[in-house]
């Protein structure tokens, strides 16, 4: 069992086919392989090895265009993504905001795009975990019961207590630093690794925000500050978005897939683009059809169960295309919820400059390349946000410090005609004194945000593609206004000057849906079949030996970044699937 060179060398049949190799697929494969199932993982991108391919320590001068963003590498040359907003030959369609016409999704800047939706896809082993932000926040008790809490959105059919044991086990696999704070809706982990010390600008924000009544704590990030088996601790250098060749920053390719392969129960085929889940005469899943991208040929692989962990929308695309006479609108769509209730996190920010940080005595501020401190949603914020018509929370992180310079350097507030030795002096004086506060917030699901099959467009394999509908609710617009106002206050409380005024009406600055890369929903879990696509164990109501392991099952979209919860739910779902197929409580081909 190992990486298969071609799709021809696979076994006749597997216990489970896992589609995808990132947070969902990686955790699913590890869970099932450890339980003893024979697993085949199908990844639509190529094989990728962070140990040999990660550009550790390269300066931006070692990259074309000083590492700048380009349509080929939208998050910069060194970013560990193959793909991005555009995957050639695999389009998706979106509405133009100005013309209201359907068009292919294109390379765009999230804050300046004409598209109402953007879809980030990573075609490589490990998927988006290779470059992700590593923010690892547990969802809290209220996050599973938003409708019961304030009448908006939808309750999950599970509670925090149901998922807590799986968070605990996931934390021990992933390795997360943080500090225990005893906050009710931001649960601690008993397995936090020691957090790194805060940077000077973060301490200024912490002190300033305290005056506003907003507590600032250690952030919770999946970077090792102590060694784990097969993974070295962080050495506080070289940006984590490039991937981590020493395995300190968690990614599926260093921390899940190798462990799954070690069991001897996992085969992996890369460049395998899945079209649909196939069903037997009894309506049970019995395998998947996929295209071998190396040969261009369509193949079928047989299995007793299927786990979709291809990312929320990609898994929905596969389910929509899994059509039979009985499931004419797609598998899982019997009650019309497939593709619906699509959400993303909101994003807002504010920038400023702190004079106290000018001419800072030289010291190394790299750290783990993510924020060392963060402000979870606080009571003070909740009160003023509610009054402003924004019901849901966001968390705040702070940017600043002397980071590795790229091809664009801020030269200070008097840069207009600057040149010569004075330019160097100003650049040095102001370097690291520019700060920002940024938020990621919860969106209330609404009926205008959904994905469906495009009625005409097909990908290069002839598979119908997704088209996206998107409209922010006023709740999110008010929330981004609240972010800007609060962040301006935080910057000023930290001793800084804001570089722009908070916007009064945020309608014009709302990012495109999907552009925060937190697509959730589209296959939400529900207590009853008529209310969703998946059951409380992430199995498809229509066909419970198909599990959705990614963020498709999220019934709501808390401000906690989804990756940690994806992994905990994937583990839970796959243990349930394995046990259920074994004892016959989940129907599967013999």
């Amino acid at each position: 069992m190992a990486f298969l060179q071609t799709s021809k060398t696979r076994a006749e049949r597997y216990d489970v086919v896992v589609v995808g190799s990132g947070a969902a697929g990686g955790m699913a494969a590890l869970t099932l392989a450890k339980a003893g199932a024979k697993v085949l993982m199908l990844e639509a991108g190529r094989k990728y090895d962070p140990v040999t391919e990660t550009p550790m320590f390269q300066s931006n001068a070692d990259a074309p265009l000083r590492g700048a963003n380009t349509p080929d590498k939208p998050y910069g040359f060194f970013d560990a993504t193959i793909g991005g907003w555009v995957v050639k030959g695999e389009p998706y369609t979106v509405k133009s905001k100005t013309t209201d016409q359907w068009q292919d999704g294109t390379f765009a800047k999230r804050d300046a795009t004409d598209q109402n939706f953007m879809w980030w896809r990573s075609r490589m082993l490990g998927g988006r975990t290779n470059h992700w932000g590593r923010v690892s926040l547990r969802m809290g008790p209220d996050d599973f019961k938003p409708r019961s809490t304030d009448g908006l959105g939808f309750d999950w059919p599970i509670s925090y207590d149901d998922i807590k044991p799986f968070y605990d086990r996931t934390d021990r696999i992933v390795g997360i630093f943080g500090s225990k704070e005893g906050l009710r809706n931001d649960p601690d982990s008993d397995f936090f690794l020691p957090p790194p010390k805060p940077r000077a600008y973060e301490l200024l924000f912490q002190r300033g925000s305290k005056k506003l009544g907003i507590p600032v704590f250690s952030s919770r990030v999946a970077v090792l500050t102590k060694p784990m088996p097969g993974r070295a601790p962080c050495f506080y250098a070289t940006p984590c978005s490039r991937g981590c060749g020493i395995g300190a920053a968690f990614q599926s390719t260093t921390s899940l897939i190798p462990c799954a392969l070690e069991t001897g129960n996992l085969d992996v085929i890369t460049n395998a683009h899945v079209r649909e889940v196939t069903l037997d005469a009894q309506g049970r899943a019995n395998g998947v059809h996929f295209f071998d991208k190396e040969t261009g040929k369509e193949e079928h692989v047989a299995a007793r169960a299927v786990v979709l962990g291809a990312s929320a929308c990609e898994s929905a695309r596969i389910l929509f295309n899994s059509r039979t006479a009985r499931f004419s609108q797609g598998l899982g769509n019997s009650t019309g919820h497939l593709g619906r209730w699509l959400t993303d996190s909101t994003a807002g920010d504010m920038s400023g400059q702190i004079p106290a940080l000018e001419n800072m005595p030289l010291h190394n501020e790299d750290g783990v390349s993510f924020p060392h401190l963060y402000a979870p949603w606080s009571e003070v914020q909740a009160k003023s946000a509610k009054a402003a018509g924004s019901p849901r929370g966001y968390y705040t992180t702070f940017g600043g410090g002397r980071r590795m310079p790229g091809g664009s350097v801020s030269l200070g507030p008097n840069s207009g005609g600057l040149f010569g030795t004075k330019l160097k002096e100003d650049a040095r004086r102001y370097f690291g004194s520019f700060v920002s506060a940024a938020g990621r917030g919860e969106m209330v699901p609404n009926e205008h945000c959904f994905a469906e099959l495009d009625p005409v467009k097909k990908d290069r394999f002839g598979i119908p593609v997704l088209r996206f509908h998107w409209k922010w609710n006023a709740y999110e617009v008010r929330q981004v206004e609240h972010m800007q106002k609060t962040f301006a206050e935080m910057i000023e409380a930290a001793g800084g000057k804001i570089t722009r005024q908070p916007i009064k009406d945020a309608t014009s600055v709302m990012t495109a849906g999907g552009s925060v890369n937190h697509e959730m929903g589209v296959a939400r879990m529900s207590a009853k079949p008529e209310d969703g696509v998946t059951n409380p164990f992430s199995g498809v109501w229509d066909c419970p030996n198909v599990v959705v392991a990614d963020a498709g099952v999220f019934a709501s979209s808390p401000y906690k970044n989804p990756t940690l919860t994806i992994m905990a739910l994937a583990m839970r779902a796959c243990e349930h699937l394995h046990a259920g197929v074994k004892d016959g409580s989940i129907a599967a081909p013999a």
Binding site: A61, F77, P361, N364
Partner: protein, 182 residues
Amino acid sequence: MASALDITAFAADDIRGIGTDPNLLKKEIPWPRVLSDGEKRIVTALGDIIIPADQYGPAASAVGVPDFIDEWVSAPYEAQQDDLKVIRAGLAWVDGEAKKRFGKGFADCGAAQQVAIVEDIVKDGTPARKVGYNFFKLFRDRVAGGYFSTQEGWKAIGYTGNMPLSEFPGPTPEALKHVGLA
């Protein structure tokens, strides 16, 4: 559906760009450079006025910035192509201005003459500013970015990171004192 697809057709149209899956460990510039020798001489001269050799470090040309500018404006992407238009026109204008004032091209002028032109561009209310300022700011920012992203530039600006550490020490006592947190 089982027939083989033409899977090479999708690789052909970005042949001059970086591509979506470049070798990240090796810097390869696949596109041809577009600046002429004459343009490059102006880039070098103007770049060294923006970033001269001084007590903080070497001049822009000593660390390969002119080549970076050529690499940048030659890139096949829309953003860089837009810069090429502005920079190419700006270089021609600067050169014409030098010929008009001093009877020779910008790169052949003495340092004092070159600086005089730049000072006019950045001074409020001059005719030179009206025409040249936007070009100058864009060119200046590209030169500065090209410079400060080099090892020599790191020293000049005060970046001391990218060094492996066994522990992250946080701010030094002097730094904490500097920001009033000691």
